[in-house]
Amino acid sequence: MASIDMKNIVKQYGDGFPAVNDVSIDVQDGEFMILVGPSGCGKSTLLRMIVGLEDITSGDMMIGDKRVNDLAPRDRNLAMVFQNYALYPHLTVYENIAFPLRLAKAPDAEVDEKVRAASKTLELDEHLERKPGNLSGGQRQRVAMGRAIVREADAFLFDEPLSNLDAKLRGQMRTEISRLQKRLGITTVYVTHDQTEAMTLGDRVAVLKRGVLQQLATPRELYENPGNLFVAGFIGSPPMNFLPATVEGTSVKLPFGTVELPREKAEKAAGKGLLMAGIRPEHFEDASVKTEKASGSTFTAKVEVVEWLGNETYAYIPFEAPPEVEEQLRQLERDLDGESLHTQLVVSLDGASRITEGEEAEIWVDGSKMHLFDPATGENLTVDHEHAGRIPSATEGAPA
């Protein structure tokens, strides 16, 4: 058991491209830390630097209180589960799990005891004599985890371990990993691009974009207080809506109408000209369904598409954005690996809503949950720093 402390980690490739740029993350002893971000954000590179499969260009990698920058992977005492499991196909499941112990020259009795214990935990008992080639995806996944847990390593590292499984199995294995980590109480760093995994598994989540740490916070903090446009757009499904907005006093002018804003939020955003308002889909409601409308505002808009899911309804409302906002939105889409063709508002309504396609509907919106972003820097002007974890660019000055 040990904490992992990354201090100003930089990874620069031969061509000078920084895959990871000045990232500092402290993983507490026993904590489940998630590294999340779209493809190419440097999350896997960071993980591989922890385990020692990539060189660190600069910065300090501390495991416990030992600097491990120059240690070979085998000397770091970490266990890793690879994306494609990397099982040894010529060895049986038993020998696969026993492999690290055999390398450590453990006596046979000890090997047997530990392998049996691991296989019991992972319910692999009846597969011990089989070869990995004859196992299903989920079973291989468990063998890979077995190989990690026999080690008594200082920390577990997972590199997108569930991305090769089908949706149902993924859900089961997710719970399994969570249970295992809680039981063993072992420090864990988990890389994923799946925000469901990030939100459900992590004690804390580090959101990365193009090698730069965007925000390091608990899942709830990320969701309720995103530090910038990128985090806001990345966390949440369907994603947060971004609308051009101008603040006048305590009211915000949106393409559909004017929404009242709490005073403290309005003050933070006053006099900044054109802004971007971020509102999550669930903070809208069909005005005819919403019974108490104490704190919100209402507006009418033409609904283009309606998707009824039973428990809720998604309604899509197109809008025109001014060029500078549109440009920013397109850039955001690219950052998020997305491909959105036109600017539209996605609102999540109650399943009881009877709004139909093409209808002019009256929509209620909760202005108090709105965030306002600076379109130039993407910074969240209304963020509550008390409950937003760590936002490097806002609190520590913009990185170079």
């Binding site: 385990v51 499969l53 099982l87 196909p89 010529h90 080690r151």
Partner: protein, 292 residues
Amino acid sequence: MATTSRATRNVVGTWVGFVIILVWCLLPVVWILSLSFKGSGETAAGSPHFLPQDWTLQNYRDILGIGSVTPGQETTNNDFLDALRNSFGIAIIATLLSVVFATLAAYAIARLEFKGKRLVLSLALAIAMFPVVALVGPLFDLWRTLHLFNTWPGLIIPYMSFTLPLAIWTLSAFFREIPWEMEQAAQVDGATSWQAFRKVIVPLAAPGVFTAAILTFFFAWNEFVLAISLTSTTDSRTVPAQLSFFVGPDPFNPPYGLLATASVVVTVPIIIIVLLFQRKIVAGLTSGAVKG
């Protein structure tokens, strides 16, 4: 009905094809086998029969020196047994060395980025393309100077050199197929680079190693030009070269029976090796290593 008759025709056609190919390929082999069981009188006859009229093991006795040997053939059997020993020794040593060197070289080529990698590969290929005959003269002179003429190393070195390129190419293709993660996983599990190579990479590349070994062994076992040019006595002469010295007492009447028998005897080890190793040369050993 039409479909069944077409299916039958397909099956019949396939088998007819098989039989033609088998006869084409195996007829000479069967002829040699049949010759090896004929007595000397029968091979010298004007119009020979395909099958021996009078089955005899005398040729085998003569060539291997077992039991009663035909008078005048005593030296033949000694020479042949010496040549057989040379063939085995030289081919096995050349194969071992070639495979060991090729494994190490191919691993470096597949895994490391270094300057001149393409050059090494193309040079290796160029060596494989080089006609052996062109080297006989220079090698003869060189070996005489270095006192390697008519020795085992004198044949082992060129055999190894000529088979290395092919072995390197085969093995580096195999190594490239093995996912990097295998090795990285081994390193994270606590293996040194050498342990990862020995315990994970080499077992996974086993089909490639066996393929390379068999190709090398065949080359060394069958090679004739160097074997005849770089040797002078049975101290190092291999079987293919030794066969050309089977002339018998009458220059117009070569001992066909003995030649055929010798051919059969040298073919048997090859067949046994292929049968032994073909189980090892199974593709898809890596299946199940990564996602499926």
